[in-house]
Subunit: 583 residues, 3 copies
């Protein structure tokens, strides 16, 4: 049985039973790419009713790899009708096209680093516009080479395979490939991300920048599949926790919520998690360079916490009918990657490089904090003692730092969006989870828990009254990650209502749960619309396609905006083009 990897494939998770979706996807008619899954998927899909659905064996010998390679060609060439790359438009007569086209060609010939001397065409020499047109089809005759730098085995292996097949590549292309592989070693510096991208999630290319991947063409699906997709797992699995809490809390017993809702949501979460884990694992295997660039993206890196937090959520939301006792080892296994990531990320904040906190502070950093509290909550629920306090302490210290930093809105915080944005709801996540974690650690919902809970409530209210600021944003998959704080606040409120049971707290619990479920539903609908109707759930992930150096031709423009935000403030306060100055 085959697994399709496209927007359609996401249909798996919306289908009531996980494997029915495949049929739906096939009905959708876009089963383009066929992969053998990796030998050891990080998530064992043990609960999937048809586990053999994704258990195709991997070719063991390197010689078998050309099959994969061939499949990849299929995979890459599924350019839609919009992705014809401008070539069909015959350069009619205009000079402007003449001067534009060669430049495009130039960038095709050296995808990764536009400013690099390796294979750099002579500046000023106007190359024949037809040459580039001819060259591209020549490359395309086999396959689109432009994605090669992001492929894990693009350079060496492929040439070996070609040679094995007795068809040596052209020497100039080989040189270019060598050049690429040398460039692959380094990812863009953090400054480049700040310079080249804009938007609250740093995911839009600035006008003066060029992408190393073709912007006018749909990229391979795996390249377009971002780490922030795990946000969906966060959203759905936290809903499973919410409905479990609603079902088992005495203060909510008047609602008569069945545990079945929890079971269904949990199964969906598990299937979703398995799917996304699998796809991202494939991305790691086949497009490691793209993963590396995501990891170096100053905002995207925080989403690397999402898979592990989602796993913690899965264990927290475990339906009582499935199991009640989880072995402590699970906790240690899940906390290990979080601990390692924290050592890395918090260390970067402190150690004064380009990723220092005064530069990268952004509400999405909360994702790197909240894992501590979720881990503490799960650990304390499982009866552990010291471990949860450890993570609680680490979380507390760094939450204080992050809370103060984000509240201050330092002008040096390059990535902090100017205006409010859904990402600000992450502010609510840490204190609401912390309140539950402390209640579990301490044994009762004491002053500490209440202080955390009330801070979360105030922040929630503070954001809710500014709800009109949250309109007009472009939908993004990352929004899923911003729903779980609402769910967390709802769960914390239910816990609080068990301590202070009255009409007000019960209404608040119901209200917040309703808001949370409504938001997730709305987002689900949006996601389905984008996936199946608009077909743009996974747009080209421009964030990973920035050049390593600033493009040459945009330097003059760049001068006007390259200065730091401080400088911009200074400039802003100076009147522009003031004629009186010259007098």
């Amino acid at each position: 049985m085959l697994l399709c990897l496209d927007e359609a494939s996401i249909g798996i998770i919306w289908a009531p039973i996980c494997c029915k979706g495949l049929e739906a996807a096939e009905l959708h008619g876009q089963v383009n790419v066929i992969f053998g899954p990796p030998p050891s998927s990080p998530v064992e899909a043990t609960d999937c009713h048809e586990p053999h659905a994704i258990s195709v064996s991997m070719p063991a010998s390197p010689s078998g790899l050309h099959i994969v390679q061939a499949k990849k060609v299929l995979f890459i060439d599924k350019a839609g009708p919009t992705a014809i790359d401008g070539q069909p438009n015959q350069p009619s007569d205009s000079d402007s096209i003449n001067s534009r086209q060669p430049q495009q060609g130039k960038f095709h010939s050296q995808p990764i680093s536009a400013g690099n001397s390796c294979g750099k065409p002579t500046e000023g020499k106007v190359s024949d516009p037809f040459e580039s047109q001819l060259r591209i089809p020549r490359n395309d005759s086999q396959r689109d080479k432009r994605f090669d730098p992001f492929k894990t085995w693009s350079g060496k292996l492929e040439r070996q395979l070609s040679n094995l097949r007795g068809k040596p590549q052209e020497p100039d292309l080989e040189a270019a490939n060598d050049c690429h592989s040398a460039e692959n070693e380094t990812v863009p510096a953090v400054d480049r991300y700040f310079d080249a991208l804009e938007g609250p999630e740093l995911d839009t290319l600035r006008a003066t920048e060029v992408s190393v991947l073709p912007e006018d063409k749909k990229w391979p699906f795996l390249l377009r599949f971002p780490i922030s997709s795990f946000g969906m797992c966060l959203g759905v699995s936290s809903q499973a926790i919410l409905w479990k809490t609603l079902a088992i809390s005495p203060s909510m017993s008047f609602l008569h919520v069945s545990l079945t809702v929890n079971l269904v949501l949990w199964c969906i979460s598990l299937a979703l998690m398995a799917t996304i884990f699998l796809i991202y694992f494939l991305k790691i295997i086949f497009f490691f360079e793209a993963v590396r660039r995501e990891y170096h993206h100053p905002i995207r890196v925080n989403f690397f916490f999402a898979p592990w937090i989602a796993c913690l959520f899965l264990v927290l939301g475990l339906p009582p009918s499935v199991t009640v006792n989880v072995h402590a080892a699970i906790w240690y296994v899940l906390m290990a990657p979080i601990f390692c990531l924290e050592l890395k990320i918090y260390g970067q904040w402190m150690s004064g490089g380009q990723r220092r906190l005064s530069k990268v502070a952004n509400p999405s950093n909360h994702l790197s904090i909240v894992g501590n509290f979720v881990g503490a909550l799960l650990g304390a629920s499982m009866g552990l003692k010291e471990g949860p306090i450890f993570f609680f302490a680490v979380g507390l210290a760094h939450y204080t730092v992050l809370f103060v930093t984000l509240y201050q809105r330092l002008p040096t915080n390059a990535t902090l969006p100017k205006e409010l944005h859904p990402v600000f709801f992450l502010f609510v996540a840490a204190p609401s989870v912390a309140c539950m974690a402390w209640a579990k650690i301490h044994g009762d919902f004491d002053y500490g828990s209440r202080i955390a809970y009330f801070i979360a409530m105030f922040l929630y209210a503070s954001l809710a009254v500014r709800i009109n600021f949250f309109r007009g944003f472009r939908f993004s998959l990352a929004w899923w990650a911003y729903t779980f704080p609402m769910t967390g606040a709802a769960v914390a409120t239910i816990k609080y209502s068990m301590e202070v049971t009255n009409v007000l707290t019960q209404s608040l619990s119901v209200g917040l749960s309703a808001i949370s479920t409504f938001t997730v539903t709305a987002l689900l609908v949006s996601t389905i619309i984008h996936a199946f109707i608009l077909h743009d759930l996974f747009p080209n992930d421009i964030s990973i396609a920035i050049t390593q150096k600033r493009p040459k031709f945009s330097k003059k423009l760049a001068h006007l905006r390259s200065a730091s935000s401080d400088m911009k403030d200074i400039e802003a306060s100076l009147p522009k083009n003031n004629p009186e100055l010259e007098l």
Copy 2:
């Protein structure tokens, strides 16, 4: 009976019995303005011994408003001998006067926005100096129009009234009025406040700026009555609390303080509060634009917490002879405006506009924090439980943020005075009130309370040893707000001395109480001197009279200082006029 609204009127509160002061005021001979008070004053002056003193009925129908209008004319024209606006000085012969006078005239003709195109006179055209002189008296023949933009009903209503009276206004003036009313819609942006004003309280106009209101003339009293006047209520009512605590604390029983002191101080506080509430309420009614501008002033806005905190103080200082049980509803009523203001102010800190914390951080922000702790203290004293913890938690989180931010002294904190200033005593307020609040919430003076108390003590000591930095400042009504932290520290020390009763803590209690009472007395004397002898207790409130745009003629000068403080630092570190650079 009539209420006089002038410096003299403030005499009410200093007279031993509140209404005797009126006679004193009348003796003072400046009862210029006569107002009917509004129908529903926000504070019911029920405890004043002669409540009818301020209960004159308001005209109910709009047609009655022309009486008020007529009164306002009286009100406005009470220009003292110093306020002749320069016109009587005949322009003898000098060119310098010639060139100065028209400019003045120009600004009179377009009060709000000097840089606005609406009714802008042609640049460079030297208008006849006599014209402006003629024009002003022509306006003055009816009344001074320059205050119109700040009046609530200046534009529409007045013209309606004029038309009713059958005397249509000149069309050009009408056009100008339209222009004004359009401009009224917007208040100056925060940047303008920073650009146009200076001083630790941002209350002095910079040399390059012009005021939209005449600087050489005393303004109407209500326009000069700032929100910071509520500081007086804070100072006096906190004294009432201090003397109540001194009287009832077992550890202070050796002082044999009578509760009568508390009763007297509390009555004075109540009368003062009623008076100031009434006057400010009139300002809201008649000069809403001025109130709006105070609310948008980045420092003044913090004083909008003062009325509610003072009310909380009043309830806290309630003499046992008056009542001991206060209904919980009072607490909810008083905390509601504080909660709303906090949602607004803290949200602005976070949401990244021009009022973000890294820009507006100033010790006066403590006023927006301390309300949480005062509310928590009162609520816990009244036996409430969850509400006080809520406000304590909100206060704790935001106090941490503010404490760190103020201690860091970010160079971007535009409003933070370069040197120490009495406003720094507000640092002591939050922890000393927090210590009492936590002791009430928790039930005993435990470690948490002690930590807060000792932090307050250290900050107090840290400021006290720098007392020589606190000299040479111009007296300001805002200083009253800076006395209550001292009183708070004294009260906290008395509470602490009840836990740890020994000679040291008792001496410290006596000492701090003495300092607090001495400071309040000294400020009282200063206030009386300024009110009755110097007649400058309420100087023109320049803070609200800045233009919306930077005045044209000062642009060149402004370039030299418009850059942000970072830029200034950079400039400062560069040697000025260095001849070696040109070599």
Copy 3:
């Protein structure tokens, strides 16, 4: 018996029995300088087996001072073979030497302020190179006058003594001396320290700066003896505490550590402390100007806490065989200077001058925090109650501020080293001591203690995994101060292992203790090598020898780097010398 003050003298402390070292030192053959110790040394060397070793009586009458003076001449003239100051090199013929030499001469003639008008030679006039050569020997004929500005009694007293001896000084020299004494009144401003020095400890002169003291000559020993030498006391006395804890902790009983190790280490600490206290006391007496400049050095000032913290450590590490009960007065005596320094330092952070926190924040500030917790720990161990909580509270508040500030890495933090540095281990000190202090105050190792402990552990781990960043640094005596946090973490872990006794915590205790002891041993070996083999343990202390004003000839260069770090960032982001800009 005589006390030698040179690197050799430090041998005292390394010799097994403290006074045997003197013989070793004498064998070393460099007993150059002979001092009578001050009448009342701050540390009573009661435990030294031969106390008379350092108890030579001080001359009581001023007339006796010329003996000291004569000794000082000896002291100063011990210029080694590397310190011939260039004069013996005859200016052969080159112009370059001609133009360099006078400049040197110039600076010799006005050591303190190169830009000062006092005795300023005419710019541009090329003075005779031979003149300076002649002038210096003329001065040197008696002694090197260049160190005079740093001597406490250089000006007045010396001349009085000269006159007494019937040998009046040359009038021009006298005038120069007057000039110097006037200049002595002021130390360089903080900005000068930032401008003139570089390196993570601000102890290296920038290329464009000149030293007021000869850089090519070894200075008098006392001038080279920095306050950071007390770091050694911190390192050794904390080891005494560690071994005491290892010996008496039940959870560590399987190691069978003897208390004798503690006793030996404690005696060494005491002797070391007495020695360093004595030497530094002599520096205060004879080179007060140098001490003053150390006190104004923005990083060095934090080391002024070290002596008192080391004293606290000594009391904490007191061997049970010596005494178990310490009088509470000791605690008050030791905490008084810490409290005063804190009032000074924390006040400077807040009060917005050049020493505000956003400018001076540096991990060495932790030294000014950790004293609070050490004091709280000692006080609580001695059975005090309120005092320890006071210092704990002060420490907590300011640690929060410092922790957030350092984690943020504000671009304005001028002294924060760009990369990690051993000084970052000070991060671990405060929470690990705080955890023990809170456990003592509260009576058990509760949640608060664990939170502090786990924060310390995480920070330790965070630094340990970055251990490769800590290579390639030049050895510095200040490193000693960075070892005690490791020891603190080890002691805290032992305390924790008493609460949670299992193999993991016991192994961790052993491991951290081993690392700590290993580090101290390694540093001890390095110190011995630098002291006895390389003879550069105390290099010229450039930090105190910066000029008060920027040297003239370096102004042009200085322009390029004088701007604040913000400006540098801005400049860095702008391409340098971009030819395309001019097009």
